[in-house]
């Protein structure tokens, strides 16, 4: 009696076990069969609303071109790529929540995006914890530093140290050594000022004042008489988006340009369009990309043409182009790695040398910073061929690892 009972139990256990194995195994079998149709999902959190919305929208437009490129070329083993755009509202908390949703709920394979020093750090923290590859397309120095960095962290955009350094090396010898900074009081502004001052030190540049204004301020007139009285050779506007538009416009009204050269670390295409030719006339700055480079760089021409075709003749902006390169690099690495696993794709990205739109680029081994050229442009108000023709390209500083902070300084043990 007892024996039969045990046997029965054993049979039950076996049956149950087989059933469980079948049920558990089914999704795998199903998944393998369906793999050809599962898209490769790229989460794309950017601030679609808020002060940088114009730039963010262009990032989305350009990223979609990279997706289209990849899909038109056949995708990866029949799998197409898909962009999942989310609004992070320029808020680090919101960015973290959206990223978490993208990873946990939407099951994205990778994250590309962000447009602020602060949101990219919070997105990076979420991706790092969940071992999902993140390629940031916004400026930041902190993201290169060892404490925030991980093997899954990549930085497609320029950083303040490189950008401000390039502008400083170009402008300080030409326009003078007495400098005033008008700085947005947050990480981006502070990092830019630090970049200028470090490059300026070697050139004997003197800081007359570093005036801090709150981010998103509408009126700068209250700072301008003091700047006038200081009589600087150069006024550096270390702010971004609408802040740059407002401060450039008001500085122009106050006649600062009569005796002072105004420069901006990042002279945005979108800000110039929003501010108009008069406010920006003669202002000089750095940028990662300007569509007018297409005369000299074939890759730029190819990218511009694709963008023009998709968006009714419009040209891509600087930050937009970063959206393109950020997504395209990751998808190329998927092909090179023959995998969609973040770690394998990361290894492939580290080996990638690419020329998507602006000339040769590669990710430095120790911090995954994209080593790339910096373009120095000047805004023009005369002899413009059409509404897209807003800058003269004055100079292009070629990619050079020596213009980055060293791996040791950033706290990375592995050197290049």
């Amino acid at each position: 009696m007892t024996e039969r009972n045990t046997q029965f139990k054993r049979r039950q256990v076996l049956q149950f076990g087989a059933a469980t194995a079948a049920v558990a195994g089914a999704p795998f079998a199903f998944k393998a069969a369906a793999q050809g149709n599962t898209p490769i999902k790229i989460g794309f959190p950017v601030p679609l609303t808020g002060a940088f919305s114009a730039e963010a929208q262009d990032q989305v437009r350009a990223a979609e071109i990279a997706i289209k490129d990849f899909n038109d070329a056949g995708g990866y083993k029949g799998r197409k790529a898909e962009l999942l755009v989310r609004d992070d509202k320029l808020n680090p908390g919101e960015a973290a929540t959206r990223t978490l949703e993208l990873i946990e709920k939407d099951k994205v394979d990778f994250v590309v995006g962000s447009l602020s020093a602060a949101t990219q750090l919070s997105i990076n923290a979420v991706c790092r914890d969940r071992k999902v590859l993140f390629n940031s397309i916004s400026q930041s120095d902190a993201i290169n530093e060892a404490k925030d960095w991980s093997l899954y962290t990549f930085h497609e955009a320029l950083n303040p140290h490189i950008t401000a350094g390039a502008v400083a090396r170009y402008a300080f010898p030409k326009f003078g050594k007495k400098v005033v900074y008008l700085t947005a009081d947050y990480a981006y502004g502070h990092e830019m000022v630090r970049g200028f001052q470090r490059a300026g030190q070697a050139l004997g540049v003197q800081t007359l004042a570093d005036i801090r204004h709150p981010i998103g301020a509408a009126d700068y007139s209250a700072f301008l008489p003091r700047i006038q009285a200081l009589k600087p050779d150069i006024l550096v506007l270390c702010n971004f988006g609408r802040d740059l538009v407002n401060s450039a416009k008001q500085a122009t009204d106050f006649g600062i340009k009569a005796n002072t050269k105004i420069i901006a670390p990042v002279l945005l295409y979108t800000a110039r369009q929003a501010g108009g030719p008069d406010a920006f006339d003669g202002i000089l700055g750095g940028t990662s990309y300007y569509w007018g480079m297409e005369d000299k760089i074939p890759a730029a021409k190819a990218f511009n043409d694709k963008f023009r075709k998709a968006y009714g003749g419009a040209v891509p902006s600087d930050y937009g182009a970063l959206g393109y390169a950020g997504v395209r690099s990751v998808l190329q690495a998927v092909l090179n790695a023959n995998s969609t696993e973040s770690m394998k794709v990361s290894i492939a990205l580290r080996q990638l040398r690419y020329n998507w739109y602006k000339g040769e680029q590669f990710y430095r081994k120790c911090d995954h910073q994209s080593v790339q050229s910096v373009v120095i442009v000047e805004s023009k108000s005369k002899a413009m061929k059409d509404k897209y023709d807003v800058f003269n390209v004055l100079s292009i500083e070629n990619p050079d690892e020596r213009n980055l902070r060293s791996c040791d300084e950033l706290g990375h043990k592995v050197s290049t």
Binding site: T49, S53, A54, Q57, D185, I211, R212, H213, P214, G216, A217, A218, D219, S221, A222, F223, L224, P225, R226, Q228, A229, R242, V245, N246, K249, Q250, D253, F254, G255, T270, Q273, A274, G275, G276, D278, A279
Partner: protein
Amino acid sequence: MLDISPQLFALQLMTGIALGAIYALLAIGLSLIFGMLTVVNFAHGAFFMVGAFLGVHFLGITGNFWFSLLLVPLATGAIGLVCERFLVRPLYGRGIDYPLLLTFGLSYVLIDVMRFAFGIEGLPSSTPAALRGSVSLGFGHFPLYRLFLIGATAAIVLALWLFIEKTRYGLIIRAGSRDPEIVRVLGIDISRVWLLVFGIGTAIAGLSGLLAAPTRAVNPEMGIPILAESFVVTVVGGMGSLPGAVVAGLLVGIVFAMTSLVAPEYAELSIFVLMAVVLLIRPQGFFGKAGLMS
């Protein structure tokens, strides 16, 4: 390290007055509507923004700044009339928080309407050609447009004062704010007076948006921070007081400018500190009557 020359001080003072002119104009509209209708108009910043957008838009079409100077207040005033008649009027007599919440919601509607109409990036606005450049005031160069801003504000304030103090209609408005019951008994349709006052208030808000547009970026969110600052001005000047709005507007502008000179980091904070101090010493503001809110 910072030495402030008399020239710099004078120039900074002018900057403060120009800033204060915009605050004063906005606060006048707010005070007018609050003083007469006891409506705290949270959509005032949105009307300011709509005025700026329409101004730049009309300027693009007509190419004439002076023409849009006339057109914009008419347009924003008309929007104000419609809002009063169909949205605010049903809420009279229901307590102060009903119209407050309604106008708060209205401001978001107006912001989104402008986003739909003109895009989220906003419009580029430039200074009208005749008012570009800077002029020498003897102690330094000052932008011509900001001088014009001060002059235009003075003219608007004067015109409004003449209208309210010297005309028959102004008399009715003043009487209506003192005792609406008696005015009604005298056979005057008080609801039409309120309609007009709301219209004038929003027209001035639109006009100040137009005037401010060349000095800043025109975007759908531009009315949000300035609304908070305008409330500071009305609180400092006294809720519902027109002279209070002008005096406090200029004072807030000057305090902001002077703090920017010595401690730029605290400029934003300084005007709220000013408000706190005034509230502690004189809770009803400079010219306000105690107990208006109750």
